[in-house]
Symmetry: C2
Subunit: 169 residues, 2 copies
């Protein structure tokens, strides 16, 4: 009984310390200074939070945001060149080549030499790639629903409406 | 006279080729497919464009966005710990250590052992650092004025008002 009382006291003391600790942390929050006026800072913070959720949600298929954007573009534009995909997404040539190599190794996409221009490659989804995309799109939609909860339906729509023009090909 | 007429024809032909070229480019623009509904995609595109302008504008002082945010926080919160800065900005420990080392090498900041906790470091700007900050802040303000032109005064204010809560400590 005495021991139980002692234990309870310890638990209470730990709780008190925790409360005091979080009070102290709140009291000592840092000032953002000039950062508070930089739109890029807040865009970046929100973008990182959104990408973290995307990566977490699509972890079961091991697809990251840039890979996803490439897969979506190949699906929506079969037979287009590596250069066109890279230009649309502003992905640097060498990085895109590595990403495509990885997607080829997974047998999700294939590169065929262009009949019009023997030096350039046309990109296509494979049957396995299309199958994988069904699951990938389902998880990406789940992520987007989570975004509605995270930032609110209004803000999400507002951002889509106002920011689209900066990311259009 | 004949030569002048020939030159004009060449200019017209070049113009025709240019118009035809941009028509072709427009006709062959890729579809964004599902990306068009992902708020994260458009946030990322705009954020990259903004960071590019920041990096270009602050190139004369060789300060990148993350370095800038650390300098602003140390300036606004002298004597705070490395851990507090890292937590506020969500910068991973090892990366922050490298950044601080670089800023120390430039003699802009100094780390002092905390008197309260001998294991932790307090961060301060040096006199040279404060002097550098005057120029850095001036270029950062120039970047922000460029953002007003780039995305418009209204959208900039809207983003600041609506996104601030996602980047507050």
């Amino acid at each position: 009984m005495e021991q139980a009382a002692g234990k309870t006291d310890t638990v209470r003391a730990a709780r008190r310390r925790k409360v005091a600790g979080s009070r102290q942390a709140a009291a000592s929050a840092l000032h953002l200074g000039q950062l508070d006026d930089h739109v890029g800072y807040f865009l970046r913070r929100l973008q990182i939070a959104i990408f973290k959720d995307f990566i977490r949600t699509l972890a079961p298929v091991d697809v990251r945001p840039a890979q996803y954007s490439v897969l979506v573009l190949i699906t929506a534009n079969p037979g287009r060149s590596q250069a066109a995909i890279g230009k649309t997404l502003s992905i640097e040539r060498a990085r895109l080549a590595r990403m495509l190599h990885d997607l080829e190794c997974r047998k999700w996409i294939e590169r065929r030499l262009s009949s019009a221009d023997g030096r350039s490659h046309c990109l296509f989804m494979t049957a396995a790639g299309n199958e994988a995309m069904a699951r990938i799109e389902s998880l990406a939609s789940q992520h987007e629903r989570q975004m509605v909860k995270f930032i609110g339906r209004d803000l999400r729509q507002l951002l889509l409406d106002r920011l689209r023009k900066f990311g259009k090909p």
